[in-house]
């Protein structure tokens, strides 16, 4: 799950770079960037869920 989370973060950033390079209007860029950040948020959620150390993980 950690690896998937990290890859989702990277994928989100690559989507942002693509949006900057390939799109030309402000609206389309903004939409694409926001969607890409949604992907990053998914990655963050996975990373947080993959580190349940507090739940009795370290007695």
């Amino acid at each position: 799950m950690k690896i998937v989370g990290l890859f989702l973060l990277l994928a989100g950033w690559l989507l942002v770079v693509m949006a900057v390079m390939l799109l030309h209007t402000e609206t389309s860029r903004a939409l694409f960037v926001l969607v890409a950040m949604g992907v990053e948020v998914l990655g963050l959620v996975l990373l947080f869920r993959a580190h349940p150390l507090a739940r009795g993980g370290r007695p």
Binding site: L9, L10, W13, V17, V20, M21, A30, M37, E40, A54
Partner: protein, 439 residues
């Protein structure tokens, strides 16, 4: 009034060490007495290691605007990603050049950013591992991102290359210093885990209060002095702000911190019946962290608003990170520096007013928001979360394979003062209790 930018920036940079002292004191106050010396000693070591790593290779990879660098050509536009200055600061003209000021300021800034995880992962992070982590941060991670933002890299050039406002803007370091440090703190918490005894077996967090609230609050005052220097110097050296705006920057810095602290005081008064000193101190620092990015580009009323939002965010973030996400962060570094810093980056896009450097006050206050600026700011945030965070995770995880981050259980039981340094901060007092035992 004529103000020499170089002299003012020089004076401002000499205030920044107060921020380092303040952060060290704040971190010491927020941990238990059995780890107090260890945290202060760690702060000294981290400053030393960060300065050395930045001297060896950090500055050569960060560089200054206009200096040689490596660029990829994507879509017909240059994406400058790293500088190519000589190692060991050999390319710097030390006879009063702006580059020498940038090098001095950045050496302090990178040390400040590297100290942020010390408070977050304190009480269970080994000194040697802390030094290794700081070397990687100051020698590689920080300089590359700072190059993108402050030295003409691809984020700064988003305006020129793609018409996105003025490119990614951050006058005082909300992204480069605060969010970078805060995200590294998050990575370290993931890697070292919570302190023993912090959570019960069913996952309920136990309160582990810091040992000296006066240290914490005095640290906040020192941080404020240092931050005045950080914001003024950053705005002049990296954003080309007219030095006559120094008073506005200082006023905005103070208003932001004050508004944030008061917001946290009110929130904790409403939630707990009394204002919470350590949370309010965190609110103060979050106000400073959030206000850095836009300090030179907003009128004072906006600075108050930025601070208020930061002060409201901090207690919510701290509570949710501890209760719901299992983040044991004694200093609240993630909430203060990462959450506060990210809000500061967004605030530039929302409230920033960009005029010519010599625009008069009326023009400044009447200037509209820059079109596309908020998208540039979002791209900066996406880069921090989507690239810097995973790379930082990978680098620090790898470092932990060679130099284990977490101290042995016996070290946590004894306290790191005795275990790693051989002497405690308060030898005449009994500091050992059993609150670390699993419940």
């Amino acid at each position: 009034m004529i103000v020499d930018p170089g002299a003012l920036a020089l004076a401002a940079v000499f205030l920044i060490p107060f921020a380092l002292a303040g952060l060290a004191l704040l971190n010491v106050g927020l941990v238990r007495s059995r780890n107090a010396t260890h945290i202060m000693m760690s702060s000294l070591c981290v400053i030393g290691v960060a300065a050395l790593a930045y001297f060896v290779c950090g500055f050569s990879w960060q560089g200054v605007t206009g200096a040689p660098g490596y660029a990829l050509r994507l879509g017909g536009k240059p994406w400058e990603w790293i500088a190519a200055q000589p190692l060991f600061l050999r390319g710097v003209d030390w006879n009063g050049s702006p580059t020498s000021l940038v090098a001095w300021m950045q050496m302090l800034s990178v040390a400040l950013a590297a100290m942020i995880p010390v408070g977050a992962a304190g009480e269970r992070w080994r000194l040697g591992a802390m030094c290794a982590s700081s070397a990687l941060f100051a020698g590689f991670l920080y300089p590359v991102f700072a190059h993108w933002v402050w030295s003409g890299g691809w984020l700064a050039a988003l305006g020129v290359n793609y018409g996105l406002g003025h490119g990614f803007v951050d006058a005082g370091g909300s992204s480069t210093i605060q969010t970078m440090g805060g995200l590294t703190a998050l990575v370290m918490l993931w890697l070292v885990g919570p302190r023993r005894g912090k959570y019960t077996s069913d996952g309920m967090p136990m309160a582990i209060p810091g040992h000296n609230a006066v240290f914490v609050l005095f640290g906040c005052l020192l941080l404020w002095v240092g931050w005045l220097g950080l914001n003024v110097a950053g705005a002049i050296l990296f954003s080309g702000v007219d030095p006559r705006r120094a008073a506005l920057i200082a006023v905005n810095t103070t208003l932001g911190a004050g508004a944030a602290a008061l917001a946290t005081v009110v929130v904790t008064r409403v939630r707990f019946g009394r204002p919470d000193a350590s949370l309010s101190a965190n609110g103060w620092v979050a106000g400073l962290a959030a206000g850095s990015g836009a300090c030179a580009f907003v009128p004072p009323a906006s600075a108050v608003l930025i601070g208020l939002v930061a002060g409201l965010l901090v207690p919510v973030a701290i509570e949710n990170l501890e209760l719901r996400l299992g983040m044991d962060d004694p200093a609240g570094a993630i909430s203060v520096h990462a959450v506060g810093g990210l809000w500061g980056i967004i605030a530039v896009g929302i409230f920033g007013r960009f005029t010519a450097p010599l625009a008069n006050t009326a023009e400044f206050f009447a200037a509209p928001s820059s079109s596309g600026q908020w998208i540039a700011q979002l791209i900066g945030i996406a880069t921090l979360l989507g690239l810097v965070l995973p790379v930082s995770y990978g680098v620090q995880w790898l470092a932990g394979r060679f130099v284990p981050h977490r101290v042995a259980p016996e070290g946590e039981r004894q306290g790191l003062d005795l275990y790693e340094l051989g002497a405690g901060a308060y030898p005449e007092f009994m500091t050992h209790t059993d609150e670390f035992l699993q419940r």
